[in-house]
């Protein structure tokens, strides 16, 4: 938390203006949290108490959670989302940083062309690619499969671009020393260069995992079989089924939200720093 205390904040003594500013900021933060607070609160209320808008439930109950989880669909969607986001994240960490390292540290013909080609794909919006991807997936039998959901994101230009900037700061002497020690190039990347860019790797991991965990558009297109839905797509279809049973919809929404919030509580510092890093450099 050392980054939170900055010399700038130290000037002046406590003035009324600052107390007012603090209070407004704090109340604004509470307003930002209201959707989340009401979602959790309502998920703990029975159907009869949904119209009672008190934030602390009168008779809190886990009945909604038991009901929503009982048919096993949410558990399945949770597993699908977790598996897909994890595999895609690992793939991106590996390939994005391997490509980035190669482009940053190797001299070879075609380096500039490869870099510009990868960079140029950042200009192409996903929406333009989904129709060709869908055709590819249906031709190759990838509709309704994990692979079908995952394949478009296995390597990302964003990750290559982000990691390249960090590998460029790794001193060549370190790599040369490892070369003299007889390590092959793969081992140099894996054992020497990668450990030096772990902050960037964790930033990339956070972004990739979050992006895939919350992804909606492509999974919605490529899945029709309920058992292969990801959590967001599953929740969306579940909510449509429930129509006006808001306490059940809020429970489903809470179930989709709890995992990322839990991760945040554990890794708050890394996540905030990672977002800053990726946002500023990326």
């Amino acid at each position: 938390m050392s980054e939170s205390t900055k010399p700038l904040a130290s000037y002046g003594t406590i003035r009324p203006g600052r107390i007012v500013a603090w209070t407004i900021l704090f109340l604004g933060g509470i307003v930002m949290m209201t959707p989340l607070l009401f979602m959790f609160s309502t998920s703990l209320k029975s159907a009869g108490h949904v119209y009672d808008l008190r934030l602390i439930p009168d008779q809190p109950t886990l009945a909604n959670y038991i009901k929503v989880l009982s048919d096993g669909r949410f558990a399945r969607w949770f597993v699908n989302s977790t598996l897909i986001a994890t595999i895609v994240t690992l793939s991106c960490l590996f390939f994005d940083s391997l490509v980035a390292y190669t482009l940053a540290k190797f001299e070879f013909p075609g380096r500039r062309v490869v870099f510009l080609a990868i960079l140029s794909t950042l200009m192409i919006p996903t929406e333009m690619l989904v129709i060709p991807w869908y055709l590819m997936a249906s031709k190759l039998g990838w509709i309704d499969s994990y692979w079908g959901i995952m394949f478009p994101g296995l390597v990302t230009a964003f990750g290559v671009f982000l990691m390249k900037q960090f590998f460029e700061t790794v001193p060549n002497d370190f790599l040369e020393a490892a070369r003299v020690d007889g390590l092959n190039e793969f081992a140099i990347w894996w054992k020497v260069a990668l450990p030096l860019v772990t902050p960037a790797l964790s930033a990339l991991a956070i972004f990739t995992f979050l992006g895939n965990w919350t992804a909606f558009f492509w999974p919605l297109i490529v899945t029709t079989d309920q058992t292969l839905y990801t959590l967001p797509v599953g929740l969306s279809s579940f909510a449509v089924e429930q129509s006006i049973q808001w306490e059940l919809i809020m429970t489903g929404a809470a179930l989709a939200t709890i995992p990322t919030l839990a991760i945040f509580l554990f890794f708050q510092r890394y996540i905030v720093r990672g977002v800053m890093l990726a946002g500023v450099k990326g």
Partner: protein, 309 residues
């Protein structure tokens, strides 16, 4: 095994050993790149070209694609629904981006100087960014319900304000969805602005204070000009986000996607429906090309603005 392996490895070691260091580097580099480069060719470049090609064909997925020249584009520009969708999409952008930027800057500016419970307040603003848009769209949809269900109408009611139709109104639904989208991304923009504020050397502020500049003058003459790259990045990032808005609209209007009366329908939802409800693949591809051209122009504008600083 060992007998057959030994000479082979010795032989290949011999060839490998005779290569110069720079040649070895080239071999290693391409060994590392071959899979990812293939991936980019097959999953990015080829589909991009295919999207342009499909946009000049008529195709329903069942029969062979038929070349129709620019018919899809003519049809699109003559379609009143497209112009409605175009207006909607830019309405999200033109109102959403300035509100999001001003709000997130103001919050970041004050949050940066707060030391008391700094981490907690930052978390309150940042947490919504970590939620799933599809899930939170349903929470907001519930908030916007008529009384006595909807939270917002109940609060308004307690102040004597008449019930508002929100998502059921052709004029209020789009702003209601826009608020949800602003809320979802505000935390990210605040964090990025704070990173930008931290990057300004404190010596600038000290010098300004010694020169007798007040708070307001420091803000307008030092902070805002030095934050220009951050601001341009966030304006572009936020604009692209609004131009691609889909999750919130789809989930908040799922009984009549893009409704009421198409008043909230953005371009991406039109693309989704054209491709995956009506199966007019060529026509949908033409719409994606239009989206691409809009997004491309905005990215070019960003580069141009940043270069001319």
């Amino acid at each position: 095994m060992t007998a057959t392996r030994a000479p082979r490895s010795a032989g290949s070691g011999g060839v490998w050993g005779r290569l110069s260091i720079s040649t070895k580097q080239i071999v290693w580099a391409w060994a590392f790149l071959v899979l990812p480069v293939l991936f980019f060719a097959v999953v990015r470049f080829y589909p991009t070209l295919e999207a342009f090609y499909l946009s000049v064909t008529d195709w329903d997925l069942l029969n062979e694609p038929r070349f129709v020249g620019l018919d899809n584009y003519r049809k699109l520009f003559a379609d009143p629904l497209f112009w409605q969708v175009f207006r909607n999409t830019f309405a999200y952008l033109i109102f959403g981006t300035p509100i999001a930027i001003v709000l997130s800057f103001a919050i970041a500016y004050y949050l940066d100087r707060v030391t008391f419970l700094h981490g907690l307040i930052r978390a309150l603003y940042f947490l919504p960014y970590l939620t799933t848009a599809a899930a939170m769209a349903w929470v907001w949809r519930w908030f916007y319900q008529p009384p006595p269900i909807g939270v917002i109408n109940s609060i308004l009611g307690s102040f004597g304000v008449p019930a508002q139709p929100f998502l059921r109104s052709v004029t209020q639904a789009l702003p209601a969805i826009m608020v949800t989208a602003i809320w979802a991304h505000l935390g990210f923009q605040i964090i990025i602005f704070m990173a930008g504020l931290r990057a300004i050397p404190t010596s600038y502020y000290e010098a300004a204070r010694i020169d007798g500049l007040g708070e307001g003058a420091i803000l307008t003459r030092i902070t805002i000009p030095l934050l220009k790259p951050t601001t341009v990045f966030l304006v572009v990032f936020s604009s692209i986000g609004f131009l691609r808005i889909f999750d919130q609209v789809y989930n908040m209007t799922s009984n009549d996607p893009g409704g009421p009366l198409n008043s909230t329908k953005p371009l991406v939802l039109m693309i989704y429906q054209t491709a995956f409800s009506s199966y007019q693949m060529g026509y949908a591809a033409a719409q994606t090309v239009v989206l691409f051209i809009i997004l491309f122009s905005i990215s070019m504008a960003q580069l141009w603005i940043l270069r001319s600083r």
